[in-house]
């Protein structure tokens, strides 16, 4: 009897562990109550060519299905599609984007996902099968601020059922953005929030199968905040605490989050609301293989009077670049390329392998409005012809920010007086015209 009871308990415990293991990606990251740990500033970081991350991935296909839509009556996708996604920095290159030139990381993604689903089939009623998704994508990420400029995805979906295999989709999807889609607003300060608006253009090339390409332009209004520095949902050495940056739409619904950890030059956990085809995806890191770090030292020296976080408009940015190779060989007359605001300028190294760079901060605003700063821009310093580069960020401030704040407040008050008053007419109009 006692043995049976132990067995029963063992089974119960096993079941409990099993159910816990199934629970991966079941919800959003939550901020634990208690003492808030103040997180560090998230500075722009350099990825290394060859850096490879592998993530356990779940695709929440069921969330796409509207149960009230008669096209999908009877559809059951009980569990998310699961598989692995591999992400690799394959190189850096120059990309022309909106008539500007940028240094970008070329990041390759590969993934295979599987899941069971039941779908309505005409005449027969319902059919159950296994969905097989092959996913490969290339993302071009700007080196200066990690903004995504373009992504091209090749996606192939089959439904394997009792009688064979049905192709559901086989297409190449290209996404471009009218302005950069920047996730982090480097340097990301603790408790900072910022917003961004851009238009996503999507084009399909191939067999759309059972899917319909979306409309040409999708307006994305996004808001971000960084106010959580705690343990991510998985344990990873060196990432015991990570920076949780959350993206929401303008209605405050979470659309994306990332647990960023500097020691792996990337994220330990991610959730995106539209990895492709509008499918939400949850990714947990299972492996990180660093690329080969260049042996060259790239050193930047700034004038002590220059405050990188408080640069005035059209101010000179002066700094000295020194590059030293491990073997000590000379780089005299080699070219250092500076990539700033979509333009390259060339600077020639002297006999000490250094050069004094002098560029203007300009007045260009960025697409991530914090309401309280003008812009933050990354500056990329590259040894031309080599994969040796680094990046730093300046934040521009302007006296007109205060003016903007004041006018926005004034304008809101003007609307308040109207809306709260006799604007009631709008509310009763509908009732007057319909009987």
């Amino acid at each position: 009897m006692q043995t049976n009871s132990r067995r029963f308990r063992a089974i119960l415990v096993s079941l409990l562990f099993f159910s816990l293991s199934l629970n991966m990606g079941s919800g959003l990251a939550e901020i634990e109550e208690g003492e808030v740990v103040v997180g560090p500033e998230i500075k722009i970081f350099d990825m290394v060519i060859g850096d490879t991350w592998v993530y356990d991935t779940e695709l929440d296909v069921a969330s796409l299905i509207d149960p009230t839509d008669e096209t999908w009556f009877g559809t059951v996708i009980e569990y998310p599609l699961s598989g692995q996604t591999t992400r690799t920095v394959s190189g850096i290159e120059t990309l022309e984007f909106k008539s500007q030139n940028y240094s970008v990381y070329k990041i390759e993604m590969e993934g295979n996902y599987v899941g069971v689903g039941t779908f309505p089939a005409p005449v027969l009623g319902l059919i159950t099968g296994t969905m097989l998704v092959e996913y490969s994508a290339t993302h071009w990420i700007r080196v200066s601020d990690h903004a995504k400029l373009r992504e091209v995805t090749d996606v192939h979906i089959d439904l394997e059922h009792i009688a064979g295999v049905e192709l559901l989709l086989d297409t190449i999807i290209t996404r471009e953005f009218d302005s950069d889609a920047e996730f982090y607003d480097f340097p990301t300060l603790w408790n900072e929030s910022w917003t961004q608006t851009y238009i996503q253009n999507e084009s399909w090339d191939g067999d759309a199968g059972y899917f319909s390409p979306p409309g040409n332009e999708k307006l994305k209004e996004r808001a971000y905040k960084y106010n959580n520095y705690t343990s991510p949902p998985i344990t990873w050495s060196g990432c015991e605490n990570s920076s949780y940056v959350q993206q929401t739409n303008s209605e405050s619904e979470v659309t994306e989050y990332k647990w960023y950890c500097p020691s792996i030059r990337g994220t330990v956990v991610e959730w995106v609301d539209d990895i492709i085809l509008g499918v939400p995806a949850y990714l947990e890191l299972i492996s990180f293989t660093p690329g080969d770090i260049p042996t060259a030292q790239l050193e930047l020296n700034f004038d002590p009077s220059l405050e990188l976080n408080n640069v005035t408009l059209n101010a000179p940015i002066i700094f000295n670049v020194t590059i030293s190779l491990e073997n000590g060989s000379s780089l005299e007359n080699e070219i250092v390329r500076i990539n700033y605001l979509g333009k390259y300028t060339n600077w020639t190294l002297n006999e000490t392998n250094s050069v004094m760079v002098n560029i203007s901060s300009n007045v260009s605003k960025d697409s991530t409005t914090t309401l309280y700063d003008w812009a933050s821009h990354g500056i990329v310093v590259e040894l031309k012809g080599h994969d040796i580069f680094t990046t730093f960020t300046i934040t521009l401030n302007s006296s007109s920010i205060a003016e903007g704040i004041a006018l926005r407040s004034e304008s809101l008050e003007l609307m308040d007086g109207w809306v709260d008053g006799s604007f009631e007419f709008i509310a009763i109009f509908g009732e007057q015209t319909r009987w």
Binding site: P120, A223, S411, F423, Q432
Partner: protein, 454 residues
């Protein structure tokens, strides 16, 4: 002859003088029966908004000059008839969508503000959705959103915007004594209990909406009386209407809605302290149940016009005929060949139209026959699939499947394989596919067959 001409002219003039609609011309107004794609466009809303905004600014001693840059009249569309659940009602509902848009420019005297060029743009967008049960039910639902966006630049040309949004969601229970049809002299009241969820929000530069939500219940009583028959004359023609007054005219606070014979509102006016505060008039519409859709004028107006035409026509023909008879007593009126040919052509057209109607009727009955057969089939052999019958038929139509005898043969073949019996109850015969399906349905058919074969 002169006397006769004068008499005819007088009669003609008398006939043309508009008269009040007398009690002999009474009519009653039912409830409009809207169909999907019906729409109604009303003027007046933009003016109300602009005047209201002007008054608000004047009260605040703000001397902005307001001009309309762009404007869409308020438009109500019947978007769909769909299944819905409203409190204890479950059944078909009519979804209406209302929209309005106006873009205003506000400008101030030179250098009196901090706005660039002393200018601001204000865009007001109103959208409303409503669900009204198709069968009798006291419930209805409305969600209305008004967004006011102001756009301006700082002195250095940096563009900013702020937005205000008000979203009201009502679930309304109406108790009404309104008669099924309204005639002058009718009085009725309605009590509306509205559960209101109100959300006001604002945001700066397309950022996060800062929201405030509140719930409340509002009960209102509205009293109506059908006051008079009138003729409404506007760009849609002369239309007989019943004027319905809401409220008490003696109090000075009331509104008048003018309903046409089909039951929808042609004009609304509101008064406060006997001053007109709001006027809105129907400018354009499509009401698919209009008795004669090609002529938007009412049957009543048509009858008046037809009467005038007939009487004057008879008088004119009589006069001419009498004169001509006097002059040419011996002349005979003959139909020429062209007229005869025309008559034949009309007959041909009539016949063609008849044939076309018959053909359409036949096609329709054939389509519904397939559905009926499939329903009976599933009822007998697989009742669980009845739930998907409409979807199956829809898919078949979309894939051009089931349009021909050959398609029916294939369907029968597949059903026989699967259930051992076809649509007509034949049990053993296996019908071999002998035709090429259209490309559009090939894939779909192959997919089905691959499953059937297994």
């Amino acid at each position: 002859m002169k006397k006769l001409t004068i008499s005819i002219s007088l009669l003609f003039i008398l006939l043309l003088i508009p008269t009040n609609v007398s009690s002999e011309e009474d009519f009653s107004v039912g409830v409009p029966d809207y169909l999907v794609d019906d729409f109604f466009e009303y003027s007046g809303y933009t003016n109300t908004i602009v005047n209201d905004f002007k008054n608000t600014l004047n009260n605040e001693e703000n001397n902005a000059e307001i001009s309309i840059i762009e404007n869409n009249d308020l438009r109500i569309n019947i978007a769909s008839i769909e299944e819905c659940e409203l409190m204890d009602y479950s059944g078909l509902c009519q979804r209406g969508k209302t929209s309005h848009f106006v873009n205003l420019s506000l400008s101030w005297e030179f250098n009196t503000t901090n706005y660039f060029n002393d200018q601001m743009y204000v865009i007001i967008t109103t959208n409303e959705e409503s669900l009204v049960p198709e069968s009798e039910s006291p419930w209805s639902w409305t969600k209305r959103s008004v967004v006011i966006t102001s756009i301006f630049k700082t002195k250095n040309g940096d563009e900013h915007n702020v937005e205000r949004r008000i979203v009201n969601e009502f679930t309304t229970h109406t108790t009404s004594t309104r008669p099924a049809t309204i005639s002058v002299g009718d009085k009725w009241f309605l009590i509306e209990e509205k559960e209101l969820i109100e959300e006001t929000a604002f945001r700066e530069n397309n950022g996060l909406w800062e929201k405030t939500k509140s719930n409340s219940t509002i009960t209102t009583q509205r009293i109506f009386s059908a006051d008079s028959y009138d003729l409404l004359n506007n760009n849609l023609g002369i239309v007989p209407v019943i004027s319905v007054i809401e409220g008490d005219m003696n109090s000075g606070n009331y509104s008048i809605a003018q309903l046409d014979e089909l039951g929808f509102v042609r004009k609304v006016e509101s008064f406060e302290n006997n001053e007109n505060t709001f006027t809105s008039e129907l400018q354009d519409y499509r009401y698919l149940r209009t008795p004669d859709p090609s002529a938007k004028q009412s049957a009543h107006t048509g009858a008046i016009c037809f009467g005038i035409f007939m009487i004057t026509g008879i008088l004119f023909v009589s006069t001419v005929f009498v004169n001509e008879y006097r002059k040419q007593k011996t002349n005979q009126v003959q139909l020429n060949n062209t007229q005869l040919n025309n008559t034949n052509e009309f007959e041909d057209l009539e016949n063609k139209l008849k044939l076309l109607k018959e053909k359409r009727g036949h096609e329709k009955s054939k389509e519904s026959e397939l559905k009926t057969k499939l329903r009976a089939f599933y009822l007998k052999h697989n009742p669980a699939k009845l739930e998907y019958l409409n979807e199956i038929i829809k898919q078949m139509e979309e894939n051009s499947f089931g349009n021909s005898e050959d398609h029916i043969k294939i369907l029968n073949s597949q059903l026989t394989s699967k259930y051992g019996v076809d649509l007509d109850g034949n049990k053993t015969e296996q019908i071999k596919e002998s035709i090429e399906l259209p490309d559009s349905s090939k894939r779909f058919k192959e997919f089905m067959e691959s499953i059937m074969d297994d």
